[in-house]
Symmetry: C2
Subunit: 247 residues, 2 copies
DNA sequence: TGTACATCAGTGAACGCGCGTTCACTGATGTAC
DNA sequence: TGTACATCAGTGAACGCGCGTTCACTGATGTAC
């Protein structure tokens, strides 16, 4: 298979290293808190130690670099996440331990998460779509793994996918937070970690309780609903009387 | 209360309108898919119909405009989200109806969501922190409402906050997706909506089943764990034999 | 192993452009009498 | 209600700067014999 697209994929050794230097320079800036779409090509080449014009030997433009970042990081991450799912399973507390392994991986390899968790809605439509596709692959792999291992045997694959979507969404949000904790208040961080673990537990508890095709009865009881209506009218009236500011 | 900060808050009528024109111009670009941090001050003033220098009559720099966007949109959204929570409670399917009201609101007022759902990890550290604080306020309000209405009376306030954090996180991710559906495949969109509703149901089912201080037994059964370990070792060996590429 | 040569990767100078910011200015707006 | 005046909001020209992109070039790298 031989690509013929604009900049060929750098066949020589020197070429490959420089290309990687460009990619790393971009990831470094992003790890330092910068947005990809606010990076300039000149500052990237400066950081990579090459002259601006050399950029074009490797990428048509910044968009192409952006897509490369998404694909590279995505591939690395998918492999690693799958690895995490297969670590420390001997424990009695799978959920907590999995999250801790995940956190450790985020701490050790912040680069790869910066794209997935930071640029999800930021970049160009093209980049956003690429990230969406990549996350879809994460979800599919995780669902397939859980399905194959019969961890939650009562769920259909469709439901399982949806649960995984929720989980991965939550984990990426968590990763985004974790990336912003360099040092800082350790006690507070530990509390946050426990919160995330609790969120995961709640999701998996809900998923375990789910039955596909069950009649649509509400989780929030009828009694609670009745109480709700009653309170609403009270509050509504109190509000209307107290503060008449309407939009 | 009289502020004395760099650009005074535009005391005259004309001033207020121009300031709002600047804010709207920024939101318009962001609604059209642009990242705040990739907007230039000149294109904003162009869109707002003023000369570049006039920008400084209202904002010290782009950072200050960014914070204004976060605060303005945050305040509007909190009011509206609280409103949504108090709508259509007579229904038997609160969760689904609430989500549909939410979706409708996103469709009708995309501007306000573009900041909260898009710029969460993108912008400058200052802006990111402001958004985090704003989302914290969302969470607190939602938790207080649910607590006051005794919708899930068994949960402690701390747990309730954490559930709300999960829910709001999920809803903002959903809003981000919805913003990218202009027209498009209606059937697919309906399916996505049902997926989000399912995610919400799963969260609330898990939350309902949660008992604070309960012993830490795993959701995933011991039987499943045993099967897991067994499968892992099988797959692990198969993998090692088949594809020897290690990182 | 050594040499000749084609291809590839990086150079440095140059360009036109839009950017943020400054300034003295002018006309509009709100107020005090 | 009318007029005088201070303040405020918007103007237009100018600046220096970093940007993306182009080009002909040169030295490095890999290969074919």
């Amino acid at each position: 298979v031989q690509k013929k697209k604009s900049p060929v994929p750098a066949p020589t050794e020197r070429g490959r290293r420089t290309r990687q230097a460009i990619v790393n320079a971009a990831l470094d800036f992003m790890s330092a808190g910068k947005n990809f779409s606010s990076l300039s090509m000149r500052e990237i080449t400066r950081q990579a130690g090459i002259v601006p014009a050399a950029f074009y030997r490797h990428f048509k433009d910044m968009d192409e670099l952006g897509l490369t970042l998404v694909n590279d990081c995505g591939e690395t991450l998918r492999l690693q996440l799958r690895g995490i799912r297969q670590t420390r399973v001997s424990s009695k507390d799978i959920i907590r331990d999995s999250f801790l392994v995940f956190k450790q991986y985020v701490d050790e390899h912040p680069k790869y998460f910066v794209v997935a968790s930071g640029e999800r809605h930021g970049g160009s439509p093209v980049m956003r779509e690429a990230i969406r596709a990549e996350i879809g692959r994460f979800v599919e792999e995780m669902a397939q793994d859980i399905h194959a291992l019969k961890l939650m045997p009562d769920l259909s694959l469709a439901t399982l996918r949806n649960v995984c979507d929720l989980v991965i969404n939550m984990m990426l949000a968590a990763a985004g937070e974790i990336l912003d904790w360099p040092g800082g208040d350790k006690r507070l961080q530990r509390n946050k970690v426990e919160s995330y673990v609790q969120q995961l537990r709640i999701i998996f508890m809900g998923a375990s309780a789910w039955r596909d095709g069950k009649p649509e009865s509400d989780v929030i009881s009828d009694k609670a609903t009745a109480r709700l209506s009653e309170e609403i009218s009270k509050i509504g009236h109190a509000r209307a009387a107290a503060s008449p500011r309407a939009p």
